[in-house]
């Protein structure tokens, strides 16, 4: 419903300005804005978290986020999308991901926002390292679905 140029996709190291993103996505035709704010929890599987480091394969991550937004516009009658992921060191309570979706009516805004975060967590090359008092680990994640192998790959010419 909107030229893709009106959407916002960013990877940032500074804190995310959620209010500005909400102002950006909403216009007079919209009756609903749904947002998802993913923030750093103070524990993981019962261990106290000190802080996190996020890293990304940045150009590919941005391309995959754009793919998600294109799919959102194709599947749901929404207006605008903002998806911003923060990278680098994050403290407890910091927002790591903020998604805002505007739409004339609320069901599409809810469905699209949830689709965005669910898909991002499966397909966007971003990784989180969790620091605890007694060490650090790369968080368990989800393996992105890889394209199927060619059934009988011919030798490269």
């Amino acid at each position: 419903m909107t030229p893709p140029g009106d959407d916002i996709f960013r990877l940032v190291v500074e804190p995310i300005d959620a209010a500005a993103l909400v102002r950006h996505v909403r216009a007079g035709e919209d009756g609903a804005v749904v947002t998802f704010d993913g923030c750093v929890r103070n524990q993981s599987h019962g261990r106290r978290t000190l802080y996190l480091d996020y890293e990304a394969y940045e150009p590919m991550a941005l391309a995959k986020i754009r793919d998600i937004a294109a799919e959102m516009h194709a599947k749901f009658p929404i207006h605008r999308v903002a998806i911003v992921h923060r990278l680098g060191r994050l403290q407890i309570g910091d927002t790591s991901i903020f998604i805002a979706v505007s739409a004339p009516h609320r069901p599409a805004a809810f469905d699209a926002c949830r689709f965005a975060i669910d898909t991002l967590k499966r397909t966007v090359p971003i990784w989180k390292k969790e620091y605890f008092e007694d060490g650090a680990i790369w968080a368990d994640g989800e393996l992105p679905p890889a394209p199927a192998e060619a059934p009988a790959a011919k030798p490269a010419s």
Binding site: E55, M60, H85, I97, G141, L143
Partner: protein, 81 residues
């Protein structure tokens, strides 16, 4: 032919570097590139089933043939969000 190789997350820790550049025989596929590093880093080889590869920033099957100048990345399970 020369290709650029990127490692992320725990793979970067295992290989000890984020980026590399290697010469491969013409017609080499992603699986051969991975085998090149797996031979040097047995721990990396054990992650074969729980990583995916990309070629020029698109997910790519292991059988993908490579070309000079390609950028290949090995990506562990993602944990953004």
């Amino acid at each position: 032919m020369r290709v650029k190789v990127l490692f992320f997350g725990r793979l970067k820790d295992i290989v000890g570097r984020a980026e590399d550049s290697v010469d491969l025989a013409d017609g080499a596929r992603i699986e051969q590139l991975f085998a090149h590093y797996g031979a040097r880093h047995p721990e990396l080889a054990r992650f074969r089933a729980s990583l995916v590869a990309s070629r020029n920033q698109e997910f790519a099957p292991w059988s993908t043939p490579l070309h000079a100048g390609d950028e290949v990345a090995f990506l562990p399970p993602v944990s953004g969000g």
